[in-house]
Amino acid sequence: MGLLNRLNEPYDAGGIILGTIEDVFNWGRARSDWYLHFGLACCAIEFMAMNASHFDFMRFGTIPRATPRQADFIMITGTVTLKMAERIKILYEQMADPKYVVSVGSCSNCGGPYWEHGYHVLKGVDRIIPVDVYIPGCPPRPEAFQEGMIQLQKKIINEEIFKKRQKIKEELLSV
């Protein structure tokens, strides 16, 4: 209703912002990422520092959720053992689309120090679920967490929601 009253006024008087629906959607999605934190090892301890007031992870609009059904991305922080890998896959499958995965630390990126003799370690969480952002480090500094979060936001904000749908339709037609 505020909009209707202002239609007679010029745009540069303020109060109206023009944009595409895609931009507005992505702007909102990128800045309100709720996450499921899957803490497995010492990277999760470093993530506590990231959440504390010095670095303040919540400034990115992230809110920790205790269930995969409300989460936009899952943060895998730590050593992914074979026993846990199956649980991670179940949680990932329970998340609603669109969903993203952030892999934190050497262990979940590629096995880390367990790459050779780790009979029980999965050598990289990307062997079971697709990873969007890798954060290197053992464990990563909170600055690296911030950079990873910025990269994830960049990825989300540049996504093409409607063109993606068209592409799927073309694929279906060709089959």
């Binding site: 074979l82 026993k83 096995g111 003799h117 009979y119 029980h120 050598k123 079971i128």
Partner: protein
């Protein structure tokens, strides 16, 4: 009591069941006992008036190639003395009596030694794997263990 005195007293009580005593540095002095008599020896060590080893500090398994073994680190709160016990059993039949009924600490320690080394603790009320998945094959800390190629469809080697 010193380990030498403990050894002599145990030897006088159990005779042949006490196999060996080593007190050469740098390792801690330890007593090797026969597996068949382990339960009675441990019971005596806990309740005997001169011993009173009421605290099992650590229970670990070991792989010696042809043999498997278990190591018991004991401590007495009252007398503040320590003792190390060792049991050595053949690898093809690694049966050791469980001391879980003597020290409750041994419950999970024995499950771990069974899981990773493969020592079979007889008399344990629930001897199942504790760290590895229940359907894991083999005992990973044995020296001749070969890392599996895959587990539940996941590739294990790098």
């Amino acid at each position: 009591m010193q380990p030498q005195e403990i050894y002599e007293e145990l030897k006088s009580r159990f005779g042949e069941a006490i196999v060996d005593f080593q007190s050469q540095p740098p390792s801690d002095p330890f007593i090797v006992v026969k597996a068949e008599n382990l339960f009675e020896i441990c019971h005596t060590l806990r309740d005997g008036d001169n011993f009173l080893f009421d605290y099992l500090k650590c229970l670990s398994g070991m792989d010696l190639g042809d043999n498997l073994g278990a190591v018991y680190h004991l401590y007495s709160m009252k007398y503040a003395h320590h003792l190390t016990l060792k049991v050595i059993v053949p690898k093809d039949e690694p049966k050791v009596p469980s001391v879980e009924r003597i020290w409750r600490t041994a419950d999970w320690h024995e499950r771990e030694a069974f899981d990773l080394i493969g020592v079979l603790f007889e008399g344990h009320h629930n001897l199942i794997r504790i760290l590895n998945p229940y359907d894991w094959e083999g005992h990973p800390l044995q020296k001749n263990y070969v890392t599996p190629e895959e587990y539940h469809g996941m590739k294990v080697p790098y």
